[in-house]
Subunit: 396 residues, 2 copies
DNA sequence: ATAAATTCTTGACGAAGTTAATTAATCTTG
DNA sequence: CAAGATTAATTAACTTCGTCAAGAATTTAT
């Protein structure tokens, strides 16, 4: 039985949403400052902020923290009260569910994991409902809050082709699913309003609102690891792709003579720089068919030149992919993340060198930011998608 | 002395702009239809349309053309009166100016060319002012209109790094210019309000409003010829790139072992598939250092396998670039154009084959449209940029 | 103290768009 | 062929949102 999401946040007008998101993402800001940043009049900000303050979403901070006081009445910065609302985010991988409860700022308040014994839809739905129940039953660190009453939105992140608007998993290679109306099933199973999103896109949403994407209208997120994924925010909007595909830097072809990719293409970045691809090459180069990734990394760090070259080759492929991405989409910044970042010392130089050589003209000024994201971040991304729901209560 | 642009078009509200652009780009439409397509109420459409009709920008067509009458009062389709306003567009190449006068629908009413004897700023500005004067003095085919009074906007297209907002040519390799405030100079020299834009982006604007991009929120334009350029429209907005670079499919690296590109990179699409690159390879393959392009094309069409393979190789590079573009940006459609399209029979199959093989998943459903655009089209693109000015009278 | 600066609030006003009712023009049907 | 059905366009009253201008609040500078 899906509980219908009560429209708790008093977002009724464009200006209300603008003011609230500004305070949410740009930290404590005075009303006048919000007005300056958004182009609204300060009167409009005052009016728009009031209902949020009354509903407990925003609060006025004391004017203590004034750095450069100057003349005039001191500002009363507005800040979100993050504990006013909680959100649940779950990332589904092939063999595990990773769940978090976050506050309005997407800060993690509780976390839990649950292994997946099977991948059929019924089992995953049941396990996910169980995980959500566990998360909402648990005590919050700071206060005795009834999470079950406070949380009403669930965000779920899955890799693959996901149609957020309808809440359907169109195709997920890891789970072996096709056209599963997961959001609907989870509405019923958890009693929470569920929003479904592709995992990398969810992560990009988290970055856009609370990470490296704040205040940046155009950026890209690239995740390096078992697979190589990406998402793109252009002109402040997440690019979804007309056919659901966008940001797939992993399948940009960068080496005509390169290895075949499971996608059917040849020389894709993922076929060269994914964990598996690196390990395959490392084993061949080392002449050791059972070499482990940890050993390969250790030996490369120890100075084993052929192995170092394997990692550098992966870095080269990633650099070419980034150059293609930046020359085409022109982002202001690219965030590189994923499990693979743990061994970034082995890639970084080559990535930067190749990128610098292939970026066209001033596109080379695009900033490459390395950001190791622990696995929980993926679930946090899912929660960020749920937070977005505050601003678009209808639809998915 | 720049004549200040009189605000002739009664565009005062968002709804007015929405209604007018809908009629302009979607052809004759009834008010109710406009309402349905835009989400406005029909009352709002009636109100918004009236001032345009009174000012002569829109007119009501007789209800003759009803296809499926059905019951009910017949619709009165709204249509633009294209001759209400004229626009001048000029494309600057390295050795020539190409100018057109268009109506509101960007249909060309007059055209003229003028060779460029020199490339210094003063000379180009003077030549351009002369060309504009000639265009506006000439008679229009349909009626005796005083173009000088009717035209008040000039669009200028230049290849290279152009900052439309400030009207400055930041860097133009063909002209050898850096940081030239061209729009300002042309305001003074021509008396028309000038808007500057990158040439490929201008062409994309023309496509977005009057060509293959109508009703498509996300598409790409690729031009193949002496250079290989591109522009991207995502979520209905032209992508400008944080540093002014975007859509540069010509500099996507697709062949690690490929030839060096003048941009400093290696294996760029342009280094393989530009006219010059093709000719260089063709001469080597044919063993004839003075082989002309026309002869190479003729021999390839005649069945010369090595030469056919040269063209096919260019097609392969373009196909890889398109795959990168589509996997990253996810457009609904890609328009391929440029002078090179004239010999498209030699590329097409390989472009499509490579693209199909490398497009990721349902991205392969993206439509490739071939559209030969005569050279005047570039100037028409410049005029389209001027037309956009109707909707944003301030700024550039 | 008085003036100047800056933030925030308030209430009148105006612009833009909605809904609901009305008028208009055509087709359908007993 | 008149009455009703159906769709399009218009009108008028109302709602909503945000601006403007004036003023209150609270500080520093002189």
């Amino acid at each position: 039985m899906p509980r219908s999401a009560p429209a708790r946040a008093p977002i009724t007008s464009p200006a209300a949403a603008t003011v609230f998101t500004t305070v949410l993402t740009q930290g404590p800001v005075s009303r006048v400052d919000v007005a300056r940043r958004t182009g609204l009049s300060s009167a409009a900000v005052t009016k728009a902020a009031r209902p949020f303050i009354e509903a407990g979403y925003l609060e006025e901070l004391a004017a203590e923290g004034r750095i450069a006081p100057g003349a005039g009445r001191p500002a009363n910065p507005l800040a979100v009260r993050p504990g006013r609302e909680y959100f649940v985010g779950v990332k589904i991988t092939g063999d595990e569910l990773i769940g978090v409860v976050t506050d309005l700022r997407a800060d993690v308040r509780a976390a839990a994991r649950r292994p997946l014994a099977a991948r059929d839809v019924e089992h995953v739905v049941a396990a996910l409902a169980g995980l959500v129940g566990e998360l909402l039953a648990g005590p919050t660190p700071d206060e005795a809050v009834n999470l079950r009453e406070r949380a009403y939105c669930l965000g779920v992140a899955v890799s693959g082709d996901v149609d957020r608007a309808s809440g359907v998993v169109r195709y997920s290679p890891f789970l072996g699913w096709r056209d599963v109306p997961l959001a609907e099933l989870l509405d019923d199973a958890t009693g929470l309003t569920t929003t479904l999103e592709n995992d990398v896109k969810a992560l990009a949403v988290a970055e856009q609102w609370f990470g490296e994407g704040v205040g940046v209208s155009s950026f890209a997120l690239v995740t390096v690891g078992a697979g190589i994924g990406g998402a793109l925010v252009v002109n402040g909007e997440l690019v979804r792709g007309a056919h659901g595909v966008a940001g797939e830097i992993g399948h940009v072809p960068v080496d005509g003579g390169g290895p075949s990719c499971h996608c059917g293409g040849q020389g894709c970045v993922e076929a060269i720089a994914s964990t598996e691809a690196i390990l395959t090459r490392a084993r061949r180069v080392a002449g050791d068919p059972v070499l482990s990734m940890a050993d390969a990394v250790a030996r490369a760090r120890g100075g084993d030149e052929p192995l170092r070259e394997v990692f550098a080759g992966a870095g080269h492929a990633i650099g070419l992919g980034l150059a293609a991405l930046v020359n085409l989409a022109g982002p202001e910044r690219v965030v590189v993340s994923g499990e693979g970042v743990a061994t970034y010392d082995l890639f970084e130089e080559r990535i930067r060198r190749t990128f610098a050589a292939q970026a066209f003209g001033s596109a080379a000024r695009c900033g490459l930011v390395i950001r190791p994201l622990p696995f929980e971040e993926w679930a946090r991304g899912a929660a960020a998608v749920a937070i977005q729901r505050l601003f678009a209560p209808r639809g998915r």
